[in-house]
C-alpha cells in the first residue's frame, strides 16, 4: 500500500557508530500510516540498533528521525544538535511503543498492572479507566484470563502478547517490534504472529524486525533488507524476497525462493 499522505515516520541518513565501528551507515526510509514494514537482515546487520535509535534508546551520531514531522530526540535544525528536554523525548518514545525480543514484562507487577502502568503514571488516566482499557486490550490478545497473574507464571508466547497489549495501551502512532518471536519455543510463535496479523488488519502502523519469512511475505506491505548497516533493498515483499537480482538478497532469500520454486513446480 503506497501512502498517499505524508509519512508517520521519516528517517533521513541515520548513522550510528560504536567507537570506531560504524553499525548504521546512512539509513533513509519512510513509514506511512497503516503500513506494515518488515525489516530483514542477518544477525549483526544492525536491525536492533536501528530500531533502538528510532526511540533514542541508543543515540544516533547523525541523521534525522521525524515522527509526524517532529524531530525525535534532538533538534538538529540549528548548527548544533540540541537534545530535547526529557519530557519531550518521553512523549516521543511512547508514541512509538516498542515490543522486545525478551518481552521485558516487569516481574513485580501482575499482567494488568504491567498494562496500566504507563496509562496511569504517564498518561494520567484513572485506575478504573486504565483497567477497563487494559482489559479490552488483553481480550484482543487473548490474555484477559491471566490478568491477575505474575509474568513468571506465563509462557513466552503469553508474555509477549501481554507485552504487545502494554505497548498498545500507550496508544502509539506506530509500533516497533524487535524480533518478537525469536526467543519463543517454535510451538508458541504462531499465537504471537496471529496477534500481530490482527493488528495489521486493524490498520496499526508497524515496523517489524523479524526472521519469520512467511509473515514478512504475507503481512508486510513493504520489506527492507539491511546488510552491514545499509538498506540494500526495499519494496513490496514479492519483489524483494522473490525477484530481486541483488546477489546478497538472492542468497538471503535463497531458502524461500527454493520453496517458492518447488511449489510452483508441483
Amino acid at each position: 500500500m503506497a501512502g498517499p499522505q505524508s509519512p508517520i515516520l521519516s528517517i533521513q541518513d541515520l548513522k550510528k557508530s560504536y567507537g570506531p565501528v560504524e553499525v548504521l551507515k546512512g539509513i533513509s526510509f519512510d513509514v506511512f500510516p497503516r503500513q506494515v514494514v518488515g525489516l530483514l537482515g542477518r544477525s549483526g546487520s544492525g536491525k536492533s540498533t536501528l530500531l533502538r535509535c528510532l526511540n533514542f534508546l541508543e543515540i544516533p551520531n547523525s541523521g534525522r528521525i521525524l515522527l509526524e514531522n517532529e524531530e525525535v530526540g534532538v533538534d538538529s535544525s540549528q548548527a548544533r544538535r540540541r537534545p530535547h528536554p526529557a519530557g519531550v523525548l518521553a512523549r516521543q518514545r511512547r508514541q512509538m511503543a516498542m515490543v522486545f525480543q525478551n518481552f521485558n514484562l516487569w516481574p513485580h507487577m501482575t499482567v494488568i498492572e504491567n498494562v496500566i502502568e504507563g496509562p496511569v503514571r504517564v498518561l494520567g488516566l484513572s485506575q478504573e479507566e486504565a483497567r477497563a482499557g487494559a482489559m479490552r486490550l488483553l481480550r484482543d490478545v487473548g490474555m484477559e484470563h491471566k490478568a491477575d497473574q505474575y509474568p513468571i507464571r506465563l509462557s513466552g508466547g503469553q508474555q509477549q502478547r501481554v507485552a504487545i497489549a502494554r505497548a498498545l495501551a500507550m496508544r502509539p502512532k506506530l509500533m516497533l517490534f524487535d524480533e518478537p518471536t525469536s526467543s519463543l519455543d517454535p510451538e508458541l510463535v504462531a499465537e504471537v504472529l496471529r496477534v500481530m496479523r490482527d493488528l495489521a488488519e486493524a490498520g496499526t502502523t508497524m515496523l517489524v524486525v523479524t526472521h519469520e519469512m512467511a509473515f514478512a511475505r504475507d503481512v508486510c506491505d513493504r520489506v527492507m533488507l539491511l546488510h552491514e548497516g545499509r538498506l540494500i533493498e526495499a519494496g513490496p515483499p514479492r519483489e524483494v524476497m522473490l525477484e530481486s537480482q541483488n546477489p546478497i538478497a538472492a542468497s538471503f532469500f535463497a531458502g524461500l525462493r527454493g520453496e517458492a520454486a518447488m511449489s510452483e513446480g508441483s
Binding site: N55, L57, A86, G87, A90, R91, R93, R94, M96, A97, M98, F100, N102, N104, L105, W106, P107, H108, E117, G118, R121, V122, Y150, I152, A163, R166, A167, A169, M170
Partner: protein, 224 residues
C-alpha cells in the same frame, strides 16, 4: 558437673538486665536506620557517572569495610575527641561507628541490587515514556529491593551482633551489663548464658522468618 544452677538471680537483677536489653535494642534500631540512610546516600554517589562524586564515595566504602568494627568503635572513642575536640558519649560513639560500618555494606548491597535489574526492564519503561524518576521509583527500587533481601537481612543481623562492641567502651548494653553483674554476683554461668540465649533467640527467629519471606518472594516473582 556439680554446679548449683540458680536462675533466680536473673529475676533478682531483672531491672539491670532489662536496661541492658533496651540499650542493645536502641543501638541496633538506630544503627540499622542510620546505616540504611548512609547506604542510600552513598549508593547514588558510588554509582555516579562523575568521578568527582564516585571517588570519595568509593574511598569511604573501602576504608570502612577494611577496618574491623571493634577497631572502629575503639578508635572513634579515643581518637575522634582528640582530633575533633568533640566528645561523644560512648553510647553515641558506638551507634555512629556501627552505623558507618553497616552503612558502607548497605551501600554495596544496594548497588548490587540496582545493577542486578535487567536493562531490558528499564528500556521497556523508557519506551512507555516513563521519566527517570518514575523508573527509579516504580521499577528499579522495587526490583532491586526484592533482589537484595537475603544480603540485606544478613546485614541487619550483623548489626545486631555488632551492637555488643559498645561493651568494650563501657556502653551499658546487654553484654556489658551481663559481665558487670557476673563479677558482682559470682554467677557468670547463669547470666552470660542468658546473654547468649538472648541473642540466639532474637536472631534465629528473625533469620527463619526472613528466609521464609525470601523464598516466597522468589517463588512469586522470579521462579518459573
Amino acid at each position: 558437673m556439680d554446679y548449683d544452677w540458680n536462675f533466680g538471680i536473673l529475676w533478682e537483677y531483672r531491672g539491670m538486665l532489662w536496661q541492658g536489653v533496651l540499650t542493645t535494642m536502641r543501638i541496633v534500631g538506630l544503627s540499622v536506620v542510620l546505616g540504611i540512610v548512609i547506604g542510600m546516600l552513598l549508593t547514588p554517589l558510588r554509582m555516579s557517572d562523575h568521578a568527582i562524586l564516585r571517588w570519595p564515595a568509593t574511598a569511604i566504602i573501602e576504608v570502612f569495610r577494611s577496618a574491623p568494627p571493634l577497631v572502629l568503635v575503639v578508635w572513634s572513642y579515643y581518637c575522634l575527641p582528640i582530633l575533633t575536640g568533640l566528645t561523644l558519649p560512648g553510647y553515641w560513639t558506638s551507634v555512629v561507628a556501627i552505623s558507618l560500618y553497616s552503612g558502607v555494606y548497605f551501600a554495596e548491597i544496594f548497588r548490587s541490587g540496582v545493577q542486578a535489574v535487567d536493562r531490558g526492564l528499564i528500556e521497556a519503561a523508557h519506551s512507555v515514556g516513563m521519566s527517570r524518576l518514575l523508573i527509579l521509583k516504580r521499577i528499579i527500587i522495587p526490583l532491586a529491593f526484592l533482589r537484595i533481601m537475603p544480603p540485606f537481612t544478613g546485614q541487619c543481623i550483623m548489626a545486631i551482633k555488632n551492637s555488643v562492641l559498645g561493651s568494650y567502651i563501657a556502653v551499658g548494653e546487654i553484654l556489658y551489663e551481663g559481665q558487670r553483674l557476673s563479677t558482682h554476683t559470682f554467677r557468670p554461668l547463669e547470666i552470660l548464658t542468658f546473654v547468649a540465649l538472648f541473642f540466639i533467640f532474637t536472631i534465629m527467629p528473625l533469620s527463619l522468618v526472613a528466609g521464609a519471606i525470601e523464598r516466597r518472594v522468589y517463588r512469586r516473582y522470579f521462579r518459573r
